[in-house]
């Protein structure tokens, strides 16, 4: 087990002839604490798999260094890094039994057979595979096979970290939560550093204590699920976490407070009025409500999503989404809305502006 550290890591894949390199991973400096449960969350193409492959050593970064417990490993091959990896699709030997599949990584490293047996039995119990040990892997369903893949990732005790690359993709939706809960439980039991890559916010936020949100080759925020929801540092985080995402609306500043569509708003905290750049406010649909004396809007669309309604309203050219309770009436005549000041944040060039005195 170790603490993994990235120092100024950048990576560009070799460019086509005559073209300048494009960085798939812009500068990343990041510490993964020993025993932590991390998720790397972002849309396809954000650089999360590149980052994962740099940890495992499948890829050597163009710049920067990687340290395991303070020891430089940047040039070390995968085999010497002691990293276990679980991929999107099950990697199992169909002709072998479940037992032999789980034992494979241990036997490969010359572990004595009695110890192999002990360890396999232990891991199989954790994954509810105990009664299947003698079965051939070929006869298992896709999620049964993926459990073996997970088991093979977990079985070694000498690993520095376990990496998961969208491990639940092939699992039927109604079984996903069971494996998700299993993984979380396993992390609590064995305490190895785990890094879980996904584009699914539920998987990331459920599994991880710390979520690393990536966008366009860069880490835009590292935080707990609560922080990512309440205090998005970048408009992308506001958009990507939460469904529907945060409303981002143009604003001006007056006396340290935002002005949207000639309405002076309160943001709960004053900011420096001299900011230059693209100024916006961010407000989640949860924190927009109807009121008697607010911003006049037109109602564009009401979607009944069962447990709540998503109402799309428009003020001049700006579209705003709001969440309204399932039983709440939508005002029919001259609707007006307001924003909850405690949950309104100001963004300058997409980055959150911190309070003036902080």
């Amino acid at each position: 087990m170790s603490r993994i550290e990235f120092k100024d890591v950048r990576h560009a894949y070799p460019p086509a002839a005559g073209q300048t390199p494009v960085y798939a991973l812009k500068e990343v400096s990041q510490v993964w604490e020993d025993g932590g449960a991390y998720a790397l969350l972002g849309p396809s193409g954000c650089g999360k798999t590149t980052l994962l492959n740099i940890i495992s050593g499948l890829l050597t970064p163009s710049e920067g260094s990687i340290l395991f417990d303070g020891r430089e490993v940047t040039q070390l091959p995968t085999t010497e890094r002691h990293i276990a990896q679980v991929f999107q699709f099950p990697v199992v030997y169909d002709t072998m039994t479940v037992f032999d599949n789980l034992a494979f990584p241990l036997r490969n490293r010359g572990m004595p057979e009695p110890r192999v047996r002990e360890r396999v039995v232990e891991i199989a119990a954790m994954l509810d595979l105990s009664d299947r040990l003698k079965q051939r892997a070929a006869g298992l369903t896709a999620d049964g096979k993926q459990k073996i893949s997970l088991g093979r990732g977990l079985v070694r005790e000498d690993v520095n970290a376990i990496l998961f690359d969208e491990p639940l993709t092939v699992i039927d939706p109604h079984l996903k939560w069971q494996l998700r809960s299993k993984l979380k439980e396993l992390h609590q039991q064995i305490g190895v550093t785990m890094i879980y890559v996904t584009h699914d916010q539920v998987e990331a936020l459920t599994f991880a204590d710390q979520v690393v949100v990536m966008h366009d080759g860069a880490v835009v925020q590292v935080g707990s699920p609560i922080d990512l929801f309440n205090k998005p540092k970048h408009t992308f985080v506001g958009y990507f976490i939460g469904s529907p995402g945060m409303n981002v609306l143009p604003c001006k500043l007056e006396q340290g407070q935002p002005v949207f569509a000639n309405n002076l708003l309160s943001s709960g905290y004053p900011v420096d009025t001299d900011l230059s750049g693209k100024l916006e406010i961010g407000i989640r649909p949860e924190f927009v409500s109807f009121c008697d004396d607010g911003i006049p809007v037109q109602i564009e669309k009401v979607e009944d999503l069962g447990r709540y309604q998503v109402v799309t309203v428009k003020h001049e050219a700006e579209q705003i989404k709001m969440l309204v309770g399932e039983d709440q009436e939508i005002p029919a005549i001259s609707p007006q809305i307001e924003f909850d000041p405690d949950n309104l944040r100001i963004y300058c060039d997409d980055w959150a502006v911190e309070p003036q005195n902080a």
């Binding site: 396809s44 939706p173 809960s181 584009h199 539920v202 979607e303 009944d304």
Partner: protein
């Protein structure tokens, strides 16, 4: 196009893929087939398209019988989950391909391609190759190619399943609007209840080759005619428990009880079932209190999905905000008894006035 299935069934060898089904879809209507994998969604679509010949029953389009008329002779387009584009064609040529096959005049082709590219926000990408597009743009290209023919019946088989959830969110928002402009009758298959609610329109709930219920999406969600329909139309799953009714009181066990609505009170005493939507079971609040053993608390941005065992039943609470629990922890949950749906011994809904 109006589409009608009259007592249609589909058997393949000894297996029945679709049990006798009658379904009538109005022209221009947006229809959803909701059910899990293997519930029969794809088979039903293939029957509607004429890709599959029914083992019994008849198929009608605009009042004319079309049973056995091959798909090529009908005004039908179908888009699958795995979007298919010609990799060496530009977006423009991909969209134009069905029109070229139909030998339309060049200016007509150009006008239609540009119209649909505009509708699907592909105009800036017309010269690019599919490989240079994002997944969402590729799927929009495949959709444009299906729509450009002006088919009167458009069948979409889980068209967003392969996309990132944020892209799905955006396309779900746009899709009904796009079709509203074309006037086509749309049939859209999905396994996700929330997707059905977002798309609106009309929904047929399906299970194991049977259409359980068909009607306006929000009314199917709120008034499932039986427990099976409620089950299909709930994710996370609807909370179910057996209760005993004595007089005007429901007993979940000896310690948990509440008053039942008059319609149920008037029925014979005995065992019934309740269905309670996950968002009506809350970790805080008032109402009927139950004790549960927490299995996991999952977090989706702004909400927590807590799996909990209540009186031996696997229940789920979907609550606003972030609620963290330890595995195996005991905790209290609450529900407002007026939110309960009641089902009789045949699992049919007992209509109650709220």
């Amino acid at each position: 196009m109006a589409i009608e299935l009259r007592n249609v069934s589909l058997r393949v060898g000894a297996e029945t893929h679709i049990y006798e089904t009658s379904l009538s879809l109005e022209p221009g209507q947006f229809n959803i087939l909701l059910g899990t994998t293997l519930s029969g969604k794809t088979s039903l679509m293939r029957l509607m398209a004429g890709l599959e010949k029914p083992s019994s029953g008849t198929l009608w389009a605009n009042g004319e019988e079309v049973t056995g008329v091959p798909v090529q002779k009908r005004s039908v387009a179908m888009v699958y989950q795995a979007f298919i584009n010609y990799p060496s064609f530009s977006v423009y040529d991909n969209i134009a391909s069905p029109l070229k096959v139909a030998r339309l005049p060049k200016n007509e082709i150009d006008a239609r391609v540009r119209k649909f590219a505009d509708l699907l926000q592909l105009t800036p990408m017309l010269e690019r190759l599919p490989a240079e597009l994002s997944g969402g743009q590729q799927q929009r290209t495949a959709l444009a190619r299906a729509l450009v023919k002006g088919a009167e019946l458009v069948l979409l088989d889980e068209p967003l399943a392969n996309l990132d959830y944020k892209l799905r969110e955006e396309l779900r928002d746009e899709l009904p609007k796009m079709f509203a402009d074309t006037g086509a009758t749309v049939v859209y298959a999905t396994s996700e209840p929330l997707e059905a609610l977002m798309l609106g329109g009309y929904t047929a709930t399906l299970n194991e080759g049977r259409v359980i219920q068909f009607g306006k999406t929000s009314s199917i969600y709120r008034h499932p005619e039986n427990l099976e329909s409620a089950r299909v139309f709930s994710d996370p799953p609807v909370n179910i428990a057996a209760i005993e009714k004595r007089g005007d009181t429901a007993y979940l066990n000896n310690s948990v009880s509440w008053n039942v609505p008059p319609e149920l009170a008037a029925m014979p005493d005995g065992y019934y079932k309740i269905g309670l939507r996950p968002h009506h079971l809350s970790p805080d609040g008032a109402g009927v209190e139950v004790e549960g053993e927490v299995q996991i608390s999952e977090i989706s941005g702004s909400e927590s999905i807590v799996r909990v065992i209540v009186e031996g039943n696997n229940w789920v609470s979907e609550a606003h905000g972030i609620h963290s629990y330890e595995f195996g922890q005991n905790a209290s949950f609450f529900f407002d008894s007026s939110r309960c749906m009641y089902f009789d011994a045949n699992e049919m809904l007992i209509e109650t006035r709220v």
